[in-house]
Subunit: 388 residues, 2 copies
């Protein structure tokens, strides 16, 4: 190998073995980045379509045979791998379509002597053109879904990953606070989000999305609605640092918050605090939910409140899974699993109040050896905005 592997080969080999997999073919941006120690091809970062083809990178890993690992990149991808050398010895930056990527991957597998491999693919992503090609080139192959294998491989973050997540969280919160200070009565939600994009970009983040509400409304898409004096503003936004995502929410008000506004945000702060309290290695995900929901049930505005917690890292909802009740339908298999140091959670509580509007906090909390650390843990009260 040119370099040491950026992940635990022992863990991956064990996961593949448990699932009866001979070969892993990863193709999503996040899993390719993970297996290649941070590499993402900048040219196709935002769009995969070119001509009649779609960019499909293929990171191939043969169980227990790291030396046979290979990478199939785009036709111009030497522009990427010469700046960021990757560890597989076999790199073919030749493909202009998903079908061609699959054909080259099949050649690598055949050259490694595999004739009837059990291949794990990301079924939610791997395209029909590439699937038909693999089945034609390797008629005796069988196929399994790689998604959960790779989620499990990524579940505990390294120091380098925590560094990126900390930087993402810091940048996201600072961007929201800067965008808040730019707001004046009469600016639209769309304009506020545009300013937020600028603030994230100035801080070196890759902007991902923003949800926004102003005043007593609950629709969270950026709209032409104009904020008025004494109205509240909720921002919930994602941005990446070297591919690692922070997704956080903060509140502001145009003028001084009313007593009701203070009460509502305090209820949310109390739930967010309760959720943190139990976080430490060995705690169960369900304990987080139990304590948060007990606190929620004591809140005066509990009927319109919602609490969610989930893992975060290279994608917005990933391992560890803490419950079956998240917004993304999950099996509950991870609920009884103890937390480990290096896992990172996104913890979120919102409420809807007909007079005040949508009130939400979302925080990024890492499990540490001694308990927890919240990244970018400021600006969580009412951010009071200038009224010009």
């Amino acid at each position: 190998m040119k370099q040491s592997l950026p992940f635990s080969a022992a863990k991956l080999n064990a996961l593949l073995d448990q699932s009866g997999v001979d070969v892993l073919l990863a193709s999503s941006k996040h899993n390719v980045q993970y297996l290649l120690g941070g590499y993402r091809y900048f040219f196709f970062e935002h769009s995969a379509a070119i001509g009649l083809g779609h960019y499909l990178p293929v990171m191939g890993y043969l169980k227990g045979r790291e030396v046979c690992a290979f990478y199939v990149g785009g036709g111009d991808e030497n522009w990427g791998t010469e700046v960021f050398p990757i560890w597989p010895e076999r790199v073919a930056n030749v493909s202009w379509s998903a079908r061609e990527s699959a054909r080259v991957a099949a050649e690598f597998l055949k050259s490694a002597g595999l004739t009837a491999p059990r291949i794990a693919l990301e079924f939610e992503l791997w395209p029909v053109a590439a699937w038909e090609c693999l089945r034609s080139e390797l008629p005796d192959a069988t196929f399994l879904d790689a998604t959960e294998i790779l989620e499990e491989l990524r579940v505990v973050k390294t120091e380098a990953e925590l560094h990126h997540l900390r930087n993402a969280a810091t940048g996201i919160v600072d961007s929201m606070l800067a965008a808040f200070q730019w707001v004046r009565p009469g600016v639209t939600e769309t304009e506020i989000v545009q300013q937020l994009r600028v603030e994230q970009t100035l801080r070196g983040l890759d902007y991902e999305f923003a949800l926004i509400t102003t005043g007593p409304t609950f629709g969270r898409g950026p709209s032409p609605r104009r904020i008025a004096n004494r109205e509240i503003l909720s921002l919930d936004t994602g941005g990446r640092h070297h591919g690692y995502l922070a997704d956080m929410a903060r509140m502001a008000v145009l003028g001084e918050p009313t007593a009701l506004m203070k009460d509502l945000l305090q209820e949310i702060l109390d739930i967010q605090q309760a959720a943190r309290t139990v976080i430490k290695p060995g705690a169960l995900g369900s304990e987080i939910y139990d304590l948060a929901l007990q606190t929620l049930k004591r809140c005066p505005h509990q009927k319109e409140m919602r609490f969610v917690a989930h893992g975060i890292g290279l994608i917005a909802h990933e391992g560890p899974r803490l419950t079956a009740t998240g917004p993304v339908p999950y099996a509950d298999k991870h609920a009884p699993r103890p937390l480990e140091a290096g896992m990172v959670l996104s913890i979120e509580t919102h409420l809807k109040h007909p007079e005040v509007g949508f009130v939400k906090l979302e925080d990024t909390v890492a499990v540490t050896d001694s308990g927890w650390e919240a990244f970018g843990d400021w600006g969580r009260g009412w951010n009071v905005l200038n009224v010009a």
Copy 2:
């Protein structure tokens, strides 16, 4: 229908008829946007993965039955469609995975009475999980590739599309010129690209990618290399305005250009100019290539030069296809086809000189009723940078 259709239903029906298609299921960002008149769901604009699923929007169109058109969106996608209402009467914003999107789409097809439809999908994109679901739900369906049908549907741009492409081109060129003026000796390629991202974002564009070289180098990925006095800088960058992409290249030099630098860029300007000369409705794509390549063959540095021209719009290489010699392997079927007003071309020439480096211009040229119009057609000489 809530609204009139944003594309020609007659043209689409004819294209589907020619291909023997009953139903079109479009899922790529660009084709969904096209069929929905500009709509893109902001939340999944940059990443599709969430939890164990991937976001897969499905725009379903039944040949000749516009009233049966449907859209399957993500589980939270009312946040998008309530701000930007879309024309299909049937909208189901319910899906958290590609498999679920396919299941809901199959339900719509069955409720429209289709039992053995001939379905056109984007094979380079449609995922295995969604494919297996469709085949299970509609066991008598047959499948065709939708990619070329949709490319043809999009090939002539409307006034609204030309407006977005003009704004994208203007913003891209202005962003490059602003980034140039920020450069000082000793800054890295990575830092220059970061500044370019900021300039694009400030102008309301969605940054897409940047290729860069400094000094006598040919690797175009942003690297830690520092630019020095008297060196050249090439930028080739893409950015979107409302989804429409401009992809353009401009040159700069730290200090006054040498006589050799002036000669090299003039050779490229001559080829770029020759390529434009023949553009008008009725001209053949091959005429553009013929005249450009004749001019290239008279250039002193012809051995290291390359000319490319291709359609551009919602993706970087799309119809009209002008030749089989582009970087993306194309069939030559469009070469003899006459240009039409409203087609938009990206025209590019580069050369590699061992002492000077990589020299390139890329321009955006629309076919008009009387000939052509180049968008953002400035900054095409040597942009001379301050030497602090």
